[in-house]
């Protein structure tokens, strides 16, 4: 299903939020096209949750405006709420109710009527693979099942826009991959998703675009690939067998003519060089150059920049990357 709308499904302009004594959001601008996933990445306390709560109409911004699914979050909150689903940091399901009772309650509140609610609950329990556990109280569910139920309750009303606040926090790898499948499935059905995460891997796997938030500001917004390009291209890392060949190795790798000089780390016997063009040819030339100088290596690795690198570089806590060179 394609949504033939050029208007963003989520639009935030200059969002600010002040609480007594501190500013949670300084300025947040976002535009998420319909049917895409925006990953919002940032450390704890960066303003991710506040942003989600404003967009989901739970909190009013101190300044700025936001339009979600075509409606202003402050002036048309109810219209927005008809069109969104929100999964907060906690799986907001009632532990004393069964999975089915949780679903039926929310379906009733979404005005499905008694019979419609029962049908809708059964349908979604099936889709989220919870049918077997449907009539057990949620208190007996595993973390992954709870999260799935939480997501199922979010999509009862067929939302156009879904907010997922750190959806995989506390999930084991299996549950997380199930969650990712669910998210991809929703996107394939045309749902627009804004998900916050601390896991760069998760943003990389799911998001079409990524906004990096730090200290209440969006400090970068682009595709995962473009963000990685900002940090630089691939690097070749070679670990040497003997310390005395360090200088030879640097000289050999310098013949590749990279924009940056090779970097040597005597402590780990590692030499790394940027691969400007990338690809097998450049790796082969490096291997030949090292062989000609008679450098013995114990290990070599072609490293792609990760979102970790992006994150550390953007937020100024660049120590990790520097120390690896």
């Amino acid at each position: 299903m394609t949504v033939a709308s050029s208007d963003p499904a989520i639009l935030a302009e200059g969002l600010q939020k002040q609480y007594r004594g501190h500013t949670a959001l300084h300025r947040v601008d976002l535009a998420v096209p319909a049917g895409t996933v925006l990953g919002v990445l940032g450390p704890n306390g960066a303003g991710k949750t506040t942003t989600v709560r404003i967009l989901a109409t739970l909190v009013e911004p101190s300044a700025g405006r936001a339009v979600v699914a075509g409606h202003d979050v402050v002036r048309e909150g109810k219209e927005v709420r008809r069109r969104i689903g929100l999964a907060g940091q906690y799986a907001a399901v009632d532990e004393l109710l069964t999975g089915r009772e949780n679903m039926v309650l929310l379906a009733k509140l979404l005005r499905y009527g008694r019979r419609g609610a029962a049908l809708r609950a059964a349908e979604l329990l099936e889709r989220f693979e919870l049918t077997d556990a449907a009539d057990r109280t949620v208190g007996t569910y595993s973390g992954g099942m709870r999260r799935r139920l939480d997501l199922a309750t979010c999509v009862i009303g067929d939302p156009q826009v879904l907010f997922l606040d750190e959806p995989s926090t506390g999930l084991d790898p299996t549950s997380r991959s199930v969650l990712w499948d669910v998210v991809r499935d929703l996107v394939a059905n045309g749902v627009t998703i804004l998900l916050t995460t601390q896991y760069l891997e998760e943003a990389d796997a799911l998001a079409d675009r990524i906004a990096v938030i730090d200290a209440g500001r969006v400090i970068a917004e682009d595709t995962p690939a473009a963000l990685k390009r900002m940090v630089g291209s691939e690097r070749l890392e070679v670990t040497l067998a003997r310390p005395e060949s360090l200088a030879d190795a640097v000289a050999a790798l310098a013949t590749l003519g990279s924009a940056q000089e090779p970097v040597a780390d005597p402590a780990t016997l590692r030499v790394s060089v940027q691969l400007d063009r990338g690809g097998l040819d450049e790796v082969a030339r490096a291997a030949v150059a090292l062989r000609e100088k008679g450098v013995d290596t114990v290990d070599f690795e072609v490293c792609k920049p990760t979102l970790d690198d992006v994150f550390f570089q953007l937020t100024g806590t660049g120590q990790k990357k520097e120390s690896r060179r």
């Binding site: 309650l105 009733k108 809708r120 349908e123």
Partner: protein, 303 residues
């Protein structure tokens, strides 16, 4: 500016929704539009659905019912039965008759803490966020809870009355006046529930809520004529006890049931017109508690 955005987006939105609905499963249930039911009926439906949630809780974990019922029952048995020969009330009313209204108000007082804790936990566990992200009136969440808790109060009140009858309590003024007394008690219980909601929305710490609830129970019932007549209290405390809404409710019930010895309410305006004092003080508490709860609720969500 927003109105032009609306005009541009609404048609595509409608199309998107329509195509979803017509998509693979034609049998997929579709929510009725808000307009298909009256706004008031819809609101009632939401409130009842939310109240239903608390009634399921009650079935799965009956602790609340036990707590709210046991406190007054224990007092009824301890004071009304074991100590009845040492308790003196002026005016020749049997102590079993005298004590029942005093015990019945404790159903309301002992419900304050549990209601507050329930509200605080829902706020803490994100359930309120979930409900608030739905297109329902926020007040339905709170009113739904008070309806379920009022049901608990009514069950508890029934238990107290039955045990009361067993230990010798008797109303003497006929069915209508007896029922009127229970209606006053239900109004009192409902008001106390809102006090509990106020506590739960403004105080996040569950232990602190528990302590405050216990304090409310002890202070309001001992500074009243629940166990002894007002004149049995130190003189400087008598005005406090006389104007205590709990005293007004108790005296109103005793008079409706023919359980009121002369002088148990003291003298003066509050003693002569307990119904008026009860109506005014309960209304005032209700208005303040509802307004404060709504504010506290909004603030708790807005964090």
């Amino acid at each position: 500016m927003t109105s032009t955005t609306d005009a541009a987006v609404s048609p595509t939105t409608a199309e998107a929704t329509a195509s979803t609905a017509a998509d693979p499963a034609a049998s997929t249930p579709v929510p009725r539009s808000a307009e298909s039911r009256g706004a008031l009926l819809g609101y009632l439906g939401d409130t009842l659905a939310l109240a239903g949630r608390h009634l399921i809780h009650l079935r799965r974990s009956p602790g609340r019912l036990v707590l709210v019922t046991m406190t007054p029952l224990v007092m009824l048995v301890a004071v009304g039965y074991l100590f009845r020969n040492s308790m003196n009330v002026p005016g020749g009313v049997p102590y079993e008759d005298f004590i029942l209204a005093g015990i019945a108000v404790q159903v309301g007082l002992s419900g304050v803490g549990p209601t507050a804790i329930g509200v605080a936990l829902d706020l803490r566990h994100g359930l309120v966020d979930r409900f608030r992200s739905l297109p329902i009136a926020p007040s339905a969440v709170l009113i739904g809870r008070t309806l379920a808790d009022l049901f608990v109060g009514a069950v508890s009140l029934t238990a107290v009355s039955l045990v009361g009858l067993a230990v010798g309590w008797r109303p003497h003024e006929g069915v209508l006046r007896t029922a009127a007394g229970f209606a006053v008690l239900l109004a009192f219980i409902y008001t106390m529930l809102w006090l509990g909601i106020l506590l739960g929305t403004t105080q996040k710490n569950v232990e602190a809520i528990d302590g405050t609830g216990a304090l409310v129970l002890v202070v309001f019932s001992f500074l009243s004529n629940a166990y002894v007549g007002v004149n049995g209290l130190p003189e400087w405390l008598r005005p406090v006890a006389q104007w205590n809404p709990v005293t007004a409710v108790i005296t109103t019930c005793r008079r409706l049931w023919g359980n009121d010895p002369s002088g148990a309410a003291g003298s003066g305006f509050a003693a002569d017109h307990p119904g008026v004092v009860a109506a005014i003080t309960l209304t005032a508490i209700l208005v303040i508690a509802v307004a404060g709860s709504v504010r506290g609720f909004e603030k708790a969500i807005g964090r």
